[in-house]
Amino acid sequence: MTNEFAVVAEGLHKRYGRSCALDGVDLTVPRGTVHGLLGPNGAGKTTAVRILATLLRFDAGRAEVAGFDVQREPERVRARIGLTGQYAAVDEVLSGRQNLIMFARLFHLSPRAARARADELLEQFDLVDAAGKSAAQYSGGMRRRLDLAASLILAPDVLFLDEPTTGLDPRSRNGVWDGVRSLVAGGTTVLLTTQYLEEADQLADRISVIDTGRVVAEGTSDELKSQIGGDRIEVVVRDAADLASAAHVVEAVGGGAVHTDPDTRRVSSPVRDRVEALGDVVQRLREAGIVAEDIGVRRPSLDEAFLALTGHRAEEEVAA
């Protein structure tokens, strides 16, 4: 790889029949960095990853991975990438160890090297005790780890992780995060998709927010947060009748666009100074005689990030 970028995508278009899964996605990932693809269900994350991992043809655009054109030299791309798909893709009948040996053999390691590598990975992914059990008997998290191990057999130049921590417990999730960090320290470039802002925040050097097949925002985590508006104050009122007056209070304190959700009797708005805002809201609510069930200041959720970045809520997309 002489290229400065491990992944370059320009104007990727992908249609399924009449629906448009990718509508001109651009992406550049410098070597040795982690790039997050953040988006709700159906945004096109998996489609983008499958295209870059040579699994899917696309209708227009250009993509280069590890210095090779995805369409013209897919085999050379495949020799340099690792992929952990959204759903664990391991052989359910074979044991964990047999799975890793098989995949290592298919990466053209000698039988001996394959066995050695399999044992190493079992050790690293805490699967030694379950090494002889069928993958079908693994828990979801164990299977996920086995899947991840299988994509790291050759220390890939570029690793694609499609929602790697969905369904993992916090300990396993931290393990995956540590694993990703140390791989990157070893020179691997990682493209990871996620629905969790926190995950992108923790891992990614840069983030592309993707929605309905388009990149709607791109930048570092801090840059995105300032676009989204940073911290939010949130009030849940006891009586739905108080929603409107609570919205006035929150607006006066926060000074930004107020978001009211009647279903959960929740009012929220961006704030700059968290502590001061909290004190103000508590005082003003008491003055107005509004009973609150919960008051708090928190980070924006992905949902609000979407509201801010796209002007619509993430769920609407799923329903559509």
Partner: protein, 288 residues
Amino acid sequence: MSTAISTSAPASSPATAAPSALTRLRWWVCDSWVMTKRNMTHVVREPEEVVIYFTLPIMFVLVFGYVFGSGMAVPGASSDSAYREFLLPGVFVMTMLYGLGATASGIAFDVGRGVVDRFRSMPVTRSALVTGRSLADLLRALLEMTVLVVCGLLVGWQWHRGIGNALLAVGLILLLRIALTWMGILLGLIVPNPDLVAVIVFPTAFPLTAVSNVFVAPELMPGWLGAVSEWNPLSATVGAIRELFGNPGLGGSSWVAEHALVMAVVWPLLMLAIFVPLSVWRYQRLSR
């Protein structure tokens, strides 16, 4: 996951020149063999599945051979074990047909669960998945044949025309199996859901064997049904191996019935000519 991932992994292959034709050939052989071993390991780790595929034909031998068999006529034979001698070649072929179900659901499982996607994202020779599968199925067919031949010998079936002809008959059975394997591969690629595959295969397989010379000689069927049975590709192989084993029940004066040996080669080759390209086409369509 306790420790960080080491960077001691073997480096991925260097960026220089693409692999030579010889290397590719070696990889194709290697990859296919790894896939074959994978499928054989399935048999070892989950023998129940194969045992189910044995039980059915053995049950047919017992039920048809002893229960219905007493009321079955075999043209040109009258001895006590005549119907069982007539039946066994049919059961051999029927077993090959049912094997299609195992092939198709195996492939369907791999496609549906994304295992195929992992293979396709790796530098694995693309055809290795299917070549490995068909080689494994061939080995599996040999295992099935061994069990059935032993079972046949126990119920009074025999080959009467020498070991050479008997081996030739086994060769014809395996040729049919290869053709059926490719049909199964295509089905598995089209219907990536093992349960649906079973729902399609088993209800169609039985009538296919019933309307053939597997259980009943077509001469004894009503006119048009007899003609359909004679033209059934299964009948060609069954007729040919009855001839080669020297078993009773060679009958029919139609052209197909008299050219069973030729047709037992023509039908499988024709099926291969149809199903191999269709499977390749379907496999490539996975990247749509």
